[in-house]
């Protein structure tokens, strides 16, 4: 197995609050890795380090390394825009833009254009209408939403149901062709049927992408993930194969949480 993301002694502070206390973790490529733990344990903070979304929070300091493809994304030389293009994120509450379904998916590709490599150097150009149409259709198909929206591509993204909105957000993320996709409790605002659809989708996506999902739903982690990490009060308590974590947890904290005696 190849390591997609490696964190090394990762600390996060919100002003004086020490939210993440030295997390070192390996996340493997083309697997679903679940991050579980009680509210406030730092699990969202952790995945927001991977695409540097914590940069946006005033008073937030990140220390330690996050290596993606062997490169530390916290390095000053790294372009954060490039990091976020390569590492997509789907949020807790579906947040489609108040634009048409088509424009929602085309948003990322339109920003980045196509990089053409001719005679040794890359040139950036805009997508043609046809290329864009193809990306939009392909991304919507991949997010299992195409059949439901293909006849109303010009309707607002916000007119869809919650579950559809979340799949639209996934399609929007897929459209920029990331390597890693981070999911921050993607089903917490959805009903069970919509949740099941997203879960199927996540398992399917790992063929092409590395998936990291934060969830407070332990059954969900057990159902869809290959490996599970348990966080408690800013510490990574235990990480291992999902089966092992749920059946034979090594740490007492983990067992207490999984059996519902804590959190």
């Amino acid at each position: 197995m190849t390591i997609a993301i490696r964190t090394d002694d990762l600390h996060v502070y919100f002003d004086k609050n020490h939210a993440l206390k030295g997390v070192s973790m390996d996340i493997e490529m083309n697997q679903v890795t679940a991050v579980i733990g009680p509210s406030g344990c730092g699990k969202s903070t952790f995945i927001r380090c991977i695409n540097r979304m914590n940069d946006l929070i005033p008073g937030c300091t990140v220390k330690g390394k996050v290596l993606v493809d062997g490169m530390d994304i916290n390095d000053d030389d790294v372009d954060v825009v490039d990091v976020r293009r390569r590492i997509g994120m789907v949020f807790q509450k579906p947040n489609p833009f108040p634009k048409s379904i088509y424009e929602n998916v085309a948003y990322g590709p339109r920003l980045h254009g196509v990089v053409e490599t001719g005679n040794g150097k890359g040139r950036r150009r805009k997508h043609t209408k046809r290329e864009l149409d193809e990306i939009v259709e392909h991304s919507l198909r991949r997010a299992a939403l195409w059949d439901e929206v293909k006849d109303r591509m010009d309707k607002s993204g916000t007119s869809l149901s919650g579950g559809q909105q979340q799949r639209l957000c996934i399609a929007r993320t897929l459209a920029v062709d990331p390597e890693i996709i981070l999911f921050d409790e993607p089903c917490s605002a959805l009903d069970p049927i919509a949740t099941a659809k997203i879960e199927d989708l996540l398992v399917d996506l790992k063929k092409d992408y590395t998936v990291v999902i934060v969830t407070h739903n332990m059954q969900q982690a057990a159902r869809i993930s290959d490996r599970t990490a348990f966080f408690y009060l800013g510490d990574l308590i235990e990480m291992g194969d999902t089966k092992q974590i749920f059946e034979r947890p090594q740490k007492e904290f983990t067992e207490q949480y999984i059996t519902g005696r804590m959190g």
Binding site: P58, V81, P96, P98, G108, T158
Partner: protein, 296 residues
């Protein structure tokens, strides 16, 4: 809405008081409009309405042949307010974007109230500043025909428009949920791309309303332009020459006009035109606000 017939007297009294308050403000507006209309009507019978709207000379105090062409005043108003808008829109929007998107919370906590205080300064103070200081600066930089001119008024009005614009536009941008910005940034958009493609479209109705509102204020502003622009009534399109606006004409002429004379009634007519203009501008703002509403 179904009425509850068992309301206690206290509730009834409060409802009545609120209804009265609302009606009295609506009635006050109607009364002002009625008064303008009644005052303007006699003018319509003594002068030609076509001459009024197309006349290029405003010389109401001529003893034998008074001329009541509104064009010089109208053009004066437009030059000053469009000139002000041209300055205020880029500065005001830039300021709103900076406050909403870039400023740290601590800086914003100082700047926003400071800008809002600017909106509360009496217009006579701005007029005084334009008359005494700004006109001198303009004189040095542009060497204008007259020291008090349209540009002087426009710049001063722009300063007065900016706080109104910033207050409204920044609120609109602030109301755009953080989650939409995060969505855009997480797709690899830069901060500016996010502002341009997400924040501005989502807050466009508020931003446009801010611009139109500020413009309406500029058209109706009297004291500042009266003091700043020199009040010459010749028709021209030179920003560096003196102009008189419709508002200033009413304010100045009313002081000396003979009660009930033709001139007196024509001033009501000018006021009516001004009233209709600002009404249309506000109506436009309302329409635009609803037309471009992006629901998030």
């Amino acid at each position: 809405m179904r009425k509850n017939r068992h309301l206690p007297p206290r509730e009834k009294a409060i409802q009545l008081a609120l209804t009265v308050a609302t009606w009295s403000s609506v009635l006050a507006l109607a009364a002002v409009f009625g008064e303008l209309l009644l005052g303007a009507l006699p003018a319509l019978s003594s002068i030609s309405i076509i001459d009024f709207f197309t006349g290029t000379v405003w010389n109401p105090s001529h003893p034998i042949y008074p001329l009541y062409g509104i064009l010089p005043l109208f053009v004066g108003t437009m030059m000053v307010s469009f000139g002000a808008a041209l300055i205020a829109i880029p500065v005001g929007l830039g300021c709103s974007i900076w406050l909403a998107e870039l400023a740290s919370p601590r800086v914003k906590a100082i700047f926003k109230p400071a800008i809002e205080i600017l909106a509360g300064i009496p217009s006579v103070i701005f007029g005084f500043f334009a008359l005494v200081i700004l006109s001198e600066w303009i004189a040095v930089v542009f060497e204008p025909v007259t020291k008090l001119n349209a540009l002087n008024g426009a710049i001063m009005l722009a300063v007065m428009m900016i706080p109104i614009m910033v207050t409204v536009a920044e609120d609109a941008m602030n109301a755009v949920p953080m989650s939409l910005r995060e969505a855009s940034l997480a797709l690899g958009a830069t901060r500016w791309e996010t502002v341009r493609h997400v924040v501005i479209p989502a807050s466009l109705s508020g931003v446009v309303a801010a611009v139109v509102l500020a413009f309406g204020r500029a058209v109706g502003e009297t004291m500042t332009v009266l003091m700043a622009t020199g009040n010459a009534t010749a028709l021209h399109f030179d920003l560096l020459r003196s102009v008189q606006t419709m508002t200033a004409a009413i304010a100045i002429d009313f002081g000396e006009v003979e009660f009930g004379s033709e001139h007196y009634h024509v001033l009501f007519l000018v006021g009516l035109v001004l009233f209709v203009m600002t009404f249309l501008i506000n109506f436009l703002a309302d329409w635009v606000t609803r037309r471009f509403k992006e629901d998030y």
